[in-house]
């Protein structure tokens, strides 16, 4: 059976419409989807390239921060949490022994962490005024560092050569483990 020219044209139009519906429209949707994804990728790429550029600035900051951190590393006590009190007392004993100061009483409280980690220590020391002065100076300037938060120095009587010092100190401690 032969198709007439009109029928052929009709079949061709139907075929064309079917091809549009089944192939072209889905392909167009795919192209749109791909274009959107490409745009998103381009946006991500641009942002990540900005991060790359930021890393250059970071490198400059890093040097400064590392330098400060190294200084800080020499100021605080770097010890495991369980050993902090022991090492702090050993440090105190060492300095006291060096300057001939007698430590009559000492105690340490729990570590405090309000930004900086500190170990509160209170102690009673006995010695000549000069010994007590250099002892306090050493505590405040030797590393690891103590900060004197309160000090009471009394002389028992007018003729006494030795003075008693009640010191409340805070020792700088390295924050535990995370760095």
């Amino acid at each position: 059976m032969k198709l007439s020219e009109q029928h052929k044209l009709g079949v061709a139009v139907i075929g064309l419409l079917l091809a549009l519906k089944m192939l072209f429209v889905p392909w167009l949707a795919w192209v749109t989807e791909q274009t959107d994804e490409i745009n998103q990728l381009l946006f991500n790429k641009a942002k990540l390239e900005q991060v790359e550029r930021r890393s250059q600035q970071l490198l400059k900051q890093k040097t400064n921060i590392e330098k400060n951190f190294e200084t800080l590393n020499t100021l605080w006590l770097d010890a495991p949490a369980a050993q902090v009190t022991v090492e702090a007392f050993q440090h105190l004993d060492k300095i006291a022994g060096e300057f001939g100061v007698e430590l009559t009483n000492r105690s340490a409280a729990e570590l405090t962490s309000d930004g900086a980690v500190l170990l509160p220590i209170s102690l009673f020391a006995s010695g000549t005024p000069e010994q007590i002065m250099v002892f306090i100076h050493a505590l405040e300037h030797r590393q690891p560092l103590f900060q004197l938060s309160r000090a009471t120095i009394t002389r028992p009587n007018v003729v006494a050569k030795k003075v008693n010092a009640n010191l409340e100190l805070q020792m700088l401690v390295k924050p535990g483990g995370e760095l």
């Binding site: 790359e52 400060n68 800080l72 900086a116 000090a151």
Partner: protein
Amino acid sequence: MTLEAASSQKTTRARFFILDRSCFREVVRNYKVSAFDLVRLVRNELTVLNAENNKVLWYVRRVSSGHYNVCYAVVHPTVSSGLGAGISVLIPETWLLYSLLTPEHIYRVESARTYWGYLSSQGTLHTTIVTGLMADSKLFANALGIMPQPNPQQLDLQQQVLNESFTLPLSLLPGAVIMRQSKQAVGPIDYNLWGKRIGMTLAGYCLVLSASLFGYKSYLNSSVETLKLSAEAVFSEQQILNQRQQQIDNYARLLQLSTDSTEIFAAIAEELGDSGQLERIQLSAERVQISGFAVSATTVLSKFAESNKFTEVKFDRNIQRVREQEAFSITMTYKAPSDAKAKSGVKDETL
């Protein structure tokens, strides 16, 4: 009547025709103009000569700087219409004489018709048909005002063109080329063929676009992945640095707030001097309380009050007279020098 030159190369599509003098009317113009104006003049002349469907050939010869000799050959439509489709090069035979004749020699040129030819030293070509009075070369020479030449040279143009090689000047070709499109009968449109062609083109376009999109997306994916890896390293580094900076800030603030206690003790000793004896010193940050004995408690107070290292100096309890001395208790605030605070070496810098 034309002479068709034989082409030595079969692949050559252009056909060369040598036109004899009966096929064209020659017009020669001499212009003393710039090259730019020459183009305009030639174009205008062509417009004039092109009337009545004539085909005009042109040949520009440069005589000297700013002086041009332009030959026009007006070819009758009956001649040009006989040309087939494609590229044809029509060369009037007299234009060949510019290349073939030796200047200042009279030639007897054998062609469809025999004529005298003479090329002057200035490049002007003179031709006259050998007939009547002009059958004698002496009369031709006399007409030109040159010395008669007893034995004029012979030039068989047909022989020269067909059997001997000669070189055409390139400047001759632009004005001698005629292009004619073949006139094929336009049949009914083959929709099937065109449909296939359009379909193939569209399919090709879609394929190329799809492949390009896919390729570009893959490239971007790999770029982003690479950048992500390095960015993650940057972020992690940034996090560590921020953490460290935070700690530096915390400790630096703490260190800057503290005052060197030994400096306070030294300041107290310096200000007190021999004016009294201390029994008790109490420091709480920058707040200082001192207790002791002195001959004059007021003198002690005035010494601290006059010092620029202490402020808010006052007695904090009554002065008691004990034997010959006065027992005092003074509270005051230590004013640390501005440079004394930076003792840690840690700078409080924020990122």
